[in-house]
């Protein structure tokens, strides 16, 4: 069997305190098929990059693709982030090694026997002490053939691990709702099981105070998680989107779910707050009435 001479691994690019590789899941591209490539970061200990919502500080990596006609790229599929930083400044991102999968599609109009995929990546790599910006050009040339692509066994583990670490859709019978209580969002989850720990990562900036403690009230069959609003929160929102992580406990490994829940005003909370003031101040007036 003849193979086109093509690199399935681009040479790793140097970035501040690490390397960045453009890797392919498959050995070739087939016109009319989707496929995945990935940005593989390997960072020195103590250094990190950021999630799509970086949190209080930092910026996520941004890629601009240069692709031949017939190839299109979708948005990065972000693995479950980690909480980074201190008690006053909390960021969301990744340490060590992380693969950011980029789904792509080859239309049937893709011509030629090989395709050169290139991209410019702008990124910020930070430690607790400092931040260093980086910019790097990546390129990967893949053969183009008509047969259904075969996976590249050298990268199989990398892609499998990345997919495992991505948040998944919650089971259909789980119910989520969010109450807007003026200074917080309260996420109510009905899962049909008891949960004693949960962490919420907001997808959108400036909604949740990232450094504030997320207090959990455990109930039979679910929980309530109080998420203090960001100092920069301004306009009301209709839906709260993010990633909910249930850390590993005795009976379950760590689980991570995408959340997209409707936000309603908490009538209960407004009445409770008003009643507290009235009971302290207004009692004589109510007697007169």
């Amino acid at each position: 069997m003849l193979f086109c001479a093509a690199s399935l691994h681009a040479d790793p690019s140097q970035i501040p305190h690490g390397t960045l590789d453009l890797v392919a899941e498959n050995q070739w591209i087939a016109a009319g098929h989707g496929f995945s490539i990935g940005l593989f970061f390997q960072l020195e200990k103590g250094w990190h990059i950021y999630w799509i919502n970086p949190g209080d500080s930092g910026e996520p990596p941004r890629v601009t693709w240069q692709l031949p006609s017939g190839l299109t790229a979708s948005e990065i599929q972000w693995p479950t982030p980690r909480r980074l930083g201190s008690s006053s400044i909390v960021d969301y991102g990744y340490e060590g090694s992380v693969l950011l999968i980029v789904p792509m599609h080859a239309t049937s109009s893709l011509v030629g026997s090989s395709a050169r995929l290139a991209g410019e990546v702008k990124l910020l790599v930070c430690s607790d002490e400092m931040c260093l910006p980086g910019k790097t050009q990546l390129a990967l040339t893949l053969p183009v053939r008509s047969q259904t692509p075969a996976t590249d066994s050298r990268n199989a583990n990398l892609f499998a691990a990345a997919r495992k670490s991505m948040p998944r859709a919650a089971p259909a019978n789980w119910k989520f709702s969010v109450a807007d209580t003026n200074d917080s969002f309260v996420l109510t989850a009905r899962l049909g099981r008891r949960v004693t720990r949960a962490v919420f990562f907001p997808l959108v900036e400036s909604q949740i105070a990232n450094a504030a403690a997320q207090t959990l009230g455990s109930e039979n069959g679910g929980f309530r998680l109080t998420l203090r609003k960001s100092d920069q929160f301004s306009k009301p929102i209709e839906r709260l989107k993010g990633v909910l992580v249930l850390p590993a406990d005795g009976s379950h490994p760590e689980e991570s779910y995408t959340i997209d829940a409707p936000v309603g005003k908490s009538a209960e909370a407004s009445q409770r707050r008003a009643a507290r003031f009235i009971s302290r101040i207004n009692f004589p007036i109510t007697i007169v009435l």
């Binding site: 006053s88 702008k122 910020l124 930070c126």
Partner: protein, 208 residues
């Protein structure tokens, strides 16, 4: 009107009157928390002394590439010059703890200001981070604009291009200048808050 309905109405009115008191310190619409600090030129800076003027607070760390973008392009210096000429008080605040990036002595800060030709009203040294924590300053830069009545009218990023590229400075919308222009024209500030972007403020670990 039934007693119960009148009672409920009173509850709502009382709750609405109480609402402003529920705003946290250092949020847009709240009175800017007062502070006293030592400037690099030896002055003592007391925020309340500037009541009656617009005040800009600029959180700074000379090692952060986002700050570098503003200073190496000359943009921050231009803003300081332009607005102090219009009577705005511009305070650069340095909240890096000793030993951390951005921490400087008074002499080092004065040398930096001279080298950069930066002309804030004063550079306030806040190595304990107490002023930073008072405002919950998160990044360098993180900008606040305070009006002559002492109320915060802007809290957030310096502009709308969260990058370290100098090339992004000329085309960026500068939120500080826009807020000052709108407020001085007697208009509502259209964008009173944004997510501040930059490097995290290097508070001391002891403040955890």
């Amino acid at each position: 009107m039934k007693r119960a309905t009148l009672f409920s109405t009173l509850i709502v009115i009382m709750a609405l009157c109480m609402a402003p008191a529920l705003l946290l310190a250092a949020k847009v619409g709240a009175v800017a928390p007062d502070f006293t600090g030592a400037a690099s030129n030896g002055q003592s800076i007391h925020l309340a002394d500037y009541r009656g003027k617009y005040v800009v607070l600029e959180w700074h760390n000379n090692g952060c590439p986002f700050v570098g973008k503003q200073y190496n392009s000359g943009n921050m210096q231009n803003l300081q010059k332009q607005w102090t000429a219009k009577g705005v008080v511009w305070l650069t605040i340095l909240s890096s703890a000793p030993g951390k990036q951005g921490y400087v002595s008074a002499n080092e800060e004065n040398a930096y200001l001279a080298k950069m030709q930066a002309t804030p009203t004063a550079a306030v040294l806040d190595p304990s981070g107490s002023i930073g924590h008072l405002y919950d300053a998160k990044t360098s830069p993180h900008m606040f604009v305070i009006n002559p009545q002492g109320v915060i009218i802007y809290d957030g990023a310096i502009d709308d291009k969260p990058t370290t590229d100098l090339a992004d400075v000329p085309g960026a919308k500068n939120y500080v200048s826009v807020a000052l222009e709108e407020a001085m024209a007697g208009k509502q500030v259209e964008t009173p808050t944004t997510r501040p972007y930059g490097c995290s403020v290097k508070y001391s670990d002891a403040s955890h």
